[in-house]
Symmetry: C2
Amino acid sequence: MKLSEDTISKEVIYKGKIINLEKHKVKLPNGETSEREIVLHNGAVSILALTPNNEVIVVEQFRKALEHTLIEIPAGKLEVGEKRESAAIRELEEETGYYTEDLTLIGEVYGCPGFANEKISIYFANNLKEGKADLDEDEFLNIKKLSIDEVKRRVSSGHIEDAKTLIAFQYLLLNYNHSK
Amino acid sequence: MKLSEDTISKEVIYKGKIINLEKHKVKLPNGETSEREIVLHNGAVSILALTPNNEVIVVEQFRKALEHTLIEIPAGKLEVGEKRESAAIRELEEETGYYTEDLTLIGEVYGCPGFANEKISIYFANNLKEGKADLDEDEFLNIKKLSIDEVKRRVSSGHIEDAKTLIAFQYLLLNYNHSK
């Protein structure tokens, strides 16, 4: 079956700091018309960082959209024109102080494909060197370190609330599960 | 460190069919003010469905936000007032024709917590009974079935582009990896 939807017209509803919102009038595969609400985002990167002590670095951060804090692997938005791998190295250092260029791509996924084009790259970072964090002026977070056993417990108990973090933790358990 | 951001004022920018957009003026933990752009969504469910032949059901669907098709596990939006488990049973049957009440919750995650409150519940569905699909009028998709070995290949090669689907596939490999 042909699945694509042709764009008849686009309306820009909002142009913001982090996102833009558009409404597209589309022609459906059956010839009917419909409307699609679309959030445009520049993309993001996130990093599953394993310290020399085999601990995983997570950050606790208030997320206004949820009105509560969330435990996540370090992550951040792509700057305009920035390469994804460079952004991952930069974000890890800014948020945690750790530095590495030893990155492996775990995957690149859309978190909310029903309405948003945000693509997030998830990297595994190894061989970390310790340094000094340097947060953005509107960024506030607590750094925590989890043992691999703690990661396993949190995955098994279903208490990971962030999609990229759950993907990263499951990757770790599939590939580095030393306690098996 | 105190992380929460107090709301000073809210502006409703858009009220739509699937999402609303708001701009919140907030007081940051350091006392400064900032703005947060927030997409509000009613939530969604998705289903990792294993057929009696040990195949996983996926749907190929055009996603206008991405301007291409995406391979995903069956999923859909919560209707107003609907329970998540009922929505999962309904969406699986509507999209694939398969019916079951044998659901296990894999997790509940936010896909884009930086700007959106969409929470997606991911269920594992077993003991499926075959029936007849019944799609929404603006929904067009192709159904495919993947063997567990094919799921493993797609996860290893990093070719899963949808966050909930990658979480579900990794869950399957961590818990039902018969080919180990």
